[in-house]
């Protein structure tokens, strides 16, 4: 469990040498010793960040730039946390556009001066820093990426009505999935049943919107797909905690998720649902949820 295998067995985008793969190992080794010492002593609560680093599977950082890309990559930095579905939206968008960038993993228990300076209002990830200027809020970042790197495949469609529809559904995902999903793992009893009912309703609304299309964007993978697909890796957690089956309630949505996972930008970014479940398990301990 401490050293999970690479999430999807795929190699990273770009050229990497074996020594870079060792760094997460060494980091985890060091922290595992710290944590096991704490556990042995039995008194000190496990530091959240240690859990996050320990649990982070051995996947290469989302996009390690090729040496020749290094200068361009320095101009684009993403402050993020591996498991964040909001950060993953940005990583997928950058990958879809083929943008080289530097990924910086944040310690949310000890936020970096760079993060605090780049997002003084919310102090949250993700933050995209482009040529020294920060952009915050995941869907604002995705739109920014689409507008700046406009020669890549478009994320939002060209037609104003289609754009408005895409924004509407992106906004729907933002308002509904994370908040209701969080209640599924945090709450018990009647409150949990209420959350389950709401979550299933949300899934059905999304499935009705998807219909028989390949993606929410139609034939082209786009904005709504990017907004929603990171949560595909959270479905296992939500259904296990909530006591239902996402596939039974929304089979087309699950089929859509699997189609998205065939895209390298998605498969290279999302982690194994079991890893997400493990991570939420530790969050539950931290919050004292049974």
């Amino acid at each position: 469990m401490i050293f999970p295998s690479t999430a999807h067995g795929s190699s990273s985008v770009g050229t990497r040498d074996a020594s870079r793969d060792l760094f997460p190992c060494i980091e985890c080794l060091r922290r595992r010793r710290c944590v096991s010492d704490n556990l042995t002593r039995g008194g000190v609560p496990i530091e959240f960040f240690h859990i996050s680093v320990l649990l982070r599977p051995h996947k290469s950082p989302p996009h390690e730039p090729h040496p020749q890309e290094a200068t361009m990559a320095e101009a684009v930095v993403l402050l993020d946390v591996w498991v964040s579905p909001f950060g993953q939206r940005c990583r997928i968008a950058l990958a879809e556009k083929g943008v080289a960038y530097e990924y910086k993993e944040e310690d949310l228990s000890n936020k970096s001066p760079m993060l605090l300076q780049a997002n003084p209002v919310h102090k949250k990830i993700p933050v995209l820093i482009h040529d020294g200027k920060p952009v915050c809020e995941s869907l604002v970042i995705v739109q920014y990426i689409d507008e700046v790197w406009s020669d890549g495949a478009p994320i939002l469609p060209a037609d104003p009505y289609a754009r408005a529809q895409a924004r509407f559904w992106g906004d729907f995902v933002d308002k509904k999935i994370y908040e209701c999903g969080t209640r599924l793992w945090k709450l018990k009893g009647e409150a949990l049943q209420e959350a389950k009912k709401e979550f299933i309703e949300i899934l059905k609304v999304l499935e009705a919107e998807l219909g028989d299309r390949k993606y929410f964007g139609g034939d082209a993978f786009g904005y709504v797909d990017i907004a929603l697909v990171p949560f595909f890796a959270w479905f296992y957690t939500y259904e296990t905690c909530g006591g239902f089956s996402v596939e039974a309630e929304a089979p087309k949505l699950v089929a859509w998720g699997k189609r998205c996972m065939e895209r390298e930008s998605v498969s290279q970014t999302l982690y194994d649902p079991l890893k997400v479940y493990e991570f939420v398990g530790f969050l539950k301990k931290k919050y004292g949820v049974e």
Binding site: Q143, R163, A164, F168
Partner: protein, 223 residues
């Protein structure tokens, strides 16, 4: 049949956003006032997901969510003024602060109107101070967040000024005070006096009346 229709309720600041955007772009539209206590069949059919106003109906196709409607108006009617700025980074800035206002400040204003005090007061003061800084940064010495002309962020925040004034009266002190936030104070006056806003922005007195009626109605229904 009018090419552009807007379903709304007169006290609603989100509806006002759509109206100001349409006025700025000089788009002719039919305004359909929804009953204050109810939802028409047209509304329920046009916005089955949220069942809320505003809904813009353009050539028979509905659009929902006020800020999405404002962006649609900007993109569908390309005549000046542009509501969002030219640079991608400035657009991101407008969108960020619009999300901040809708996610943080607007719910806070509602809580303050419903009587919450103490920490809520401090949060409101901090929020207004942040908006002042954003105004100074984005206006670059000009009259609006959008520069010389009203833009996306002006519409987002400005259309709530009536309700901000109602909140100030209920709290007994000014949130947008010249001594503390001179940039915002000047901007608020300019926004309300703008030809695209004047005449459609509801009077604060009427909003107060509606608020007090709603409070009475709420207390009665709780019994």
């Amino acid at each position: 049949m009018a090419e552009v229709k807007l379903l709304g309720k007169w006290p609603c600041p989100y509806v006002l956003r759509a109206r100001v955007a349409l006025q700025l772009k000089k788009v002719e539209y039919e305004y359909l006032e929804e009953e204050l206590g109810g939802k028409s069949e047209l509304l329920l059919k046009s916005n089955p997901v949220h069942k809320k106003i505003p809904v813009l109906i353009h050539r028979g196709r509905p659009l929902c969510e006020s800020l999405i409607i404002v962006q649609y108006i900007d993109e569908a009617w390309l005549a000046a003024p542009s509501l969002l700025p030219a640079s991608a980074h400035d657009r991101a800035f407008h969108r960020f602060w619009a999300a901040y206002f809708d996610d943080k400040l607007s719910p806070l204003l509602t809580r303050l109107r419903n009587g919450e005090r103490g920490r809520a007061n401090e949060e409101a003061a901090e929020g207004v101070k942040l908006l002042e800084e954003a105004f100074v940064r984005l206006s670059e010495g000009k009259g609006f967040f959008g520069g010389d002309e009203i833009g996306y962020l002006d519409i987002t925040i400005g259309c709530h000024l009536g309700w901000i004034r109602v909140t100030e009266r209920l709290m007994g002190f000014k949130l947008i005070e010249e001594a503390k936030v001179p940039g915002l104070a000047g901007w608020a006056e300019r926004f309300c006096a703008h030809e695209a806003v004047q005449g459609i922005m509801p009077e604060t007195e009427k909003l107060m009346e509606i608020f007090q009626l709603a409070q009475i109605h709420m207390k009665r229904s709780k019994r």
